[in-house]
Each structure stands twice: as C-alpha cells, then as structure tokens.
C-alpha cells in the first residue's frame, strides 16, 4: 500500500494490520532543526486525531496527531536519542511509531501522496 497523509502533516504507511507513522518532509523543514522528540509508550491505545507525540525545534514545540486509532506496537528509539534524524530522513528511517490498526475505515479521507505533495513540497 502507498503512503497516506493528514492535513496535520503526518504520514502513514500501512502494511497488513500495522501502520508506520511519521511527520512529512514538509513538516520537518518548516519546524527546523529538531532537538527533542517524545513518543507514546508501547501498548498505549491511541484515538484518531489524538495528540500523541511531540517534536520540538530550538524555537517551538509541535504536537503530532495519530492519523488513525490503534495500539502502539513499536516506537523508534533512534529519533528520541538523535532528533536530528527526523530532519535528515523524515519520511524514511526517522519514522516515529507503529500502530496495530483498530479500524481500517479510518484510512478513508486521508490524502494520497500526489495530493499532499502538490501543496506541500520543500
């Protein structure tokens, strides 16, 4: 399946029952150099659009919202220890967390890559 995007600049990549979530390259570019990342704990049940993670640059803090509901099954410890990785590879290695999808119908209404990138290129 291909990547989907939210209007809040998260991306989500679905693989079977599990979704990987991160922030878009456009978002990292606008935030600037990240110095702090906080992620939800494994096992936590997230609701769609809930503020679940925080990314902070030198200047400002920004919430990350869960694009869909589900249970956190894995988080990316590398981006917590080295937040700059998000600036380097936001849509690749620097994913933030993985969810066990609760309701696949929530994926409807998210933007496809072409639609998102048309408005949001770095």
């Amino acid at each position: 399946m291909s990547k989907l995007y939210t209007t809040d600049h998260e991306w989500i990549l679905v693989d079977g029952d599990v979704a990987t979530i991160g922030i878009s390259d456009y978002a990292q570019s606008n935030l600037g150099d990240l110095v702090f990342v906080s992620l939800p704990e494994v096992g936590r049940a997230l609701k769609k659009s809930e503020a679940v993670a925080v990314v902070e640059s030198v200047k400002a803090a920004s919430d990350v919202y869960s694009p869909i509901s589900g249970e956190v099954v894995e988080t990316n410890a590398d981006v917590v220890s080295d937040p700059a990785q998000v600036n380097a590879d936001a849509e690749g290695k620097a994913w933030l967390f993985k969810l066990k999808i609760a309701d696949k119908s929530e994926l409807e209404g998210l933007m496809d890559e072409a639609t998102y990138k048309k408005e949001h290129t770095v």
Binding site: G32, D33, V35, F36, S38, V54, E56, S57, V58, K59, A60, A61
Partner: protein
C-alpha cells in the same frame, strides 16, 4: 503570514538582502524580519559561537539626545531623571546598559546608552521605540533635543571572529574593548560602532546610514567566516547568555531588582550615593535593593532533554497545586546541548541548585535553579 498583515509590516534597509540570501521571514515587532537563513537556527547559533554571525537589528530604535546647553553633562543628568543608572559618570566613548523605570519601579524598556562626547546615542527595543521617544520628549525636552534616527540601519556582528572580520574594513576596532562606543568611518560610511551585542560573545553593533547598509552587510558577508543569522538563533544565543528579552523576562510589572539587574545600578544612584534616587520608582527600587524582593528572576535547568517554554507554570514540588511563578523564556541551548529557561520564583526558592518543577503538557518536569549565563560569556574587557 496573512497577506494583510504582511502589507502593514515595515521593512528594514536589509530586507532585499535577506530575501536574496533565502531567509524565512516572519512578523516581529511590526517588522518583517528573518527568523532563519538556509543554514537553520541550530547551525546559525553554533556558527556564531565558533566564528562570526551578522544580525540585522535595524528594527530597534536609534535616538540621539543632544544637550541644548551644549554640555554633555546636562544631557547625562537629564537622562538620569528617567533611569537608575549613572550617566554623569560615563566617560566619552563608553556605553552603558540602562532601564527606563515607571513610578511603581517597573521597567518601561531596557536600553543601551553611549556617550559620543557632544551627545548621547541611545538604542531601544523595537516594540517600545515610539513610547520611548514620547517618554524622552515629555520629560527631557527642556534640557535636550530628542532626535530619532530612522534613516540608519543597525547590525550586530558577533562571535570570536567578529573582530578580524570588521578590522579588515576598519582597523580601529581592534583597539576597542567591551562597551567602548563611538563614531567610526567604515569604507567611507559614517558609522557608529560599539563593542557590544546580545549574544554573550565578543562583537560589535554597527549603526550605518540606511542607504549604505546593504553594501556594508555584503562586504562583511564576503568574509567566509561571517554568516547571516536570523532572530531564531539570536533568541537562543541571548538566552544561553542569560540576557533578558523585554516583554518576556522584564516588563512594566518587574523591577530591576526583581529581575536581578541590580548589577546595572551604580553606587552613585543608590542610597547614600552622590545622586541617590531621583528616577521614577526610586523609593521602591532602593527599598528593594536594601531589603530584597519577594520574587526573583532566576536561570532554570530542566532535567532531561525536553525544553520548558515560556508560560509554563512553576511549582515548589511535584504535587503542589498553586504555581509559584512561571517561565518567561525557555528553549533549547544548542551550545549548552540541553534545555534552559528563565523565570520568576519566590526569593526563598531563588538559590542555585534549588529544585522546583515546571508543568509541561500535564507532566511535572523537575528543574534546578542555575546561575546565568548558562554558557560563559566571551567579552573582550
């Protein structure tokens, strides 16, 4: 930014240069200002500490205060009626930090004042400059001419390589020491240079006629050691240096003593001094100097990596329900490689190493009161 807002924003003489250098522009104090350049806030900050950074601070107000009598002492004594600092004792070619106070002892603005021999040269904050001008005219017009200098730009060149970069164009600056100030010619431009700044680094502030500002900036940027730096890094640099930002760390409700600026009040203006008092709020401020204050501005070091931002409430312990104060500036220090903040706490909790807590996203974050500057300053005294 909204189109309408952008239309009403003022531009500095370096606006076109910022755009050509790829700056990201934001509204600040009524001006469209560069918040960062392509290097980014973090690298701009580190570059300034390691090499040299060029800042546009043309939004700040520049004012000449000329004594009607022709005697500089008369301008200095007149100004002393508005600030708790000693200006009659400030020699020609020297600069001093001051605050305009109000009758309650609060701070109307903080400012730099230089003695240029025949007049005083004043630099004030952008957001306060109209009010400051009116304040000066209202109280000092009998003794002084108040000349606002809107046709001058102001830039700061900061960092360990600032002296070498500026000395290439103006060899005289190498002889200046911290807080020396005066008119100097750079490449035929009539500049006012002070050896000062707001980053904690050695460096210079350069006032230049607006028409020549871009040319001078380009000459400085021709030096590979010099990079343009935006407001984002200016803020993290000044916070690491423990310096107050007006409207955040100090304002009309904070006295110079509460805000831990008593070092800026010379003995002559204190109780028992030759010209004790005689400025707005003197009774309150001198009483606080003698007897202390109930609250105090302190440096704060949060534990862990999470920045604690402006507005975060402060608590005496993990479970306390009533805040004891709040954070007035907070962020991440790239050179400190850790979060840092400033805020007001009760005097009893103001000692270094006292543990308090801030509330961030519903969680109590432990922090310790810490001495400032967070990063040692590098002034050339």
């Amino acid at each position: 930014m909204l189109a309408q807002e952008a239309l009403s924003l003022k531009r500095t003489p370096l606006h076109a240069l910022h755009l050509s250098l790829g700056a990201k522009m934001v509204p600040f104090a009524g001006y469209e200002m560069p918040v960062q350049f392509p290097l980014g806030v973090l690298k701009e900050h580190l570059h300034t500490r390691r090499s040299a950074g060029l800042f546009d601070v043309s939004h700040m107000g520049q004012i000449a205060l000329r004594p009607r009598s022709g005697k500089i002492e008369d301008a200095a004594l007149a100004l002393e009626r508005l600030v708790p600092q000693d200006f009659a004792g400030l020699g020609a070619g020297r600069q001093r930090y001051a605050q305009f106070t109000n009758d309650a002892g609060g701070i109307l603005d903080d400012l730099m004042v230089a003695n240029f021999g025949d007049h005083l040269f004043i630099v004030v904050n952008a957001a306060c400059k109209e009010a400051d001008e009116a304040h000066l005219r209202k109280h000092l017009s009998e003794a002084c001419e108040v000349n606002v200098l809107p046709d001058r730009a102001l830039m700061a060149l900061q960092g360990p390589k600032a002296e070498a970069a500026l000395a290439r164009l103006c060899p005289g600056v190498s002889a200046m020491r911290f807080m020396d100030a005066g008119p100097q010619n750079i490449a035929g431009f009539e500049c006012f240079i002070s050896r000062s700044g707001y980053t904690g680094e050695d460096g210079f502030e350069i006032s230049v006629p607006a028409a020549q500002a871009e040319q001078l900036a380009r000459m400085l940027l021709d030096d590979p050691d010099v990079q343009p730096i935006g407001l984002g890094a200016r803020d993290s640099l000044r916070l690491e240096a423990g310096l107050c930002l007006y409207g955040h760390d100090i304002d009309e409700t904070t006295s110079p003593i509460e805000s831990a600026l008593e070092w800026s009040i010379q003995k002559n203006r204190r109780t028992g001094g030759a010209r004790a008092g005689g400025f707005p709020g003197a009774k309150t401020i001198l009483d606080q100097l003698a007897n202390g204050t109930t609250r105090r501005r302190v440096g704060l070091r949060p534990e862990g990596r999470a920045p604690v931002r402006e507005g975060a409430p402060l608590f005496s312990d993990q479970l306390a329900t009533h805040p004891i104060g709040s954070v007035t500036s907070g962020g991440f220090g790239p050179s400190l490689n850790a979060p840092m903040a400033m805020g007001y706490v009760p005097a009893a909790l103001a000692a270094a190493d006292t543990q308090i807590f801030a509330e961030v996203r519903g969680q109590r974050v432990p922090m310790r009161v810490a001495a400032t500057p967070f990063v040692p300053n590098a002034f050339k005294r």
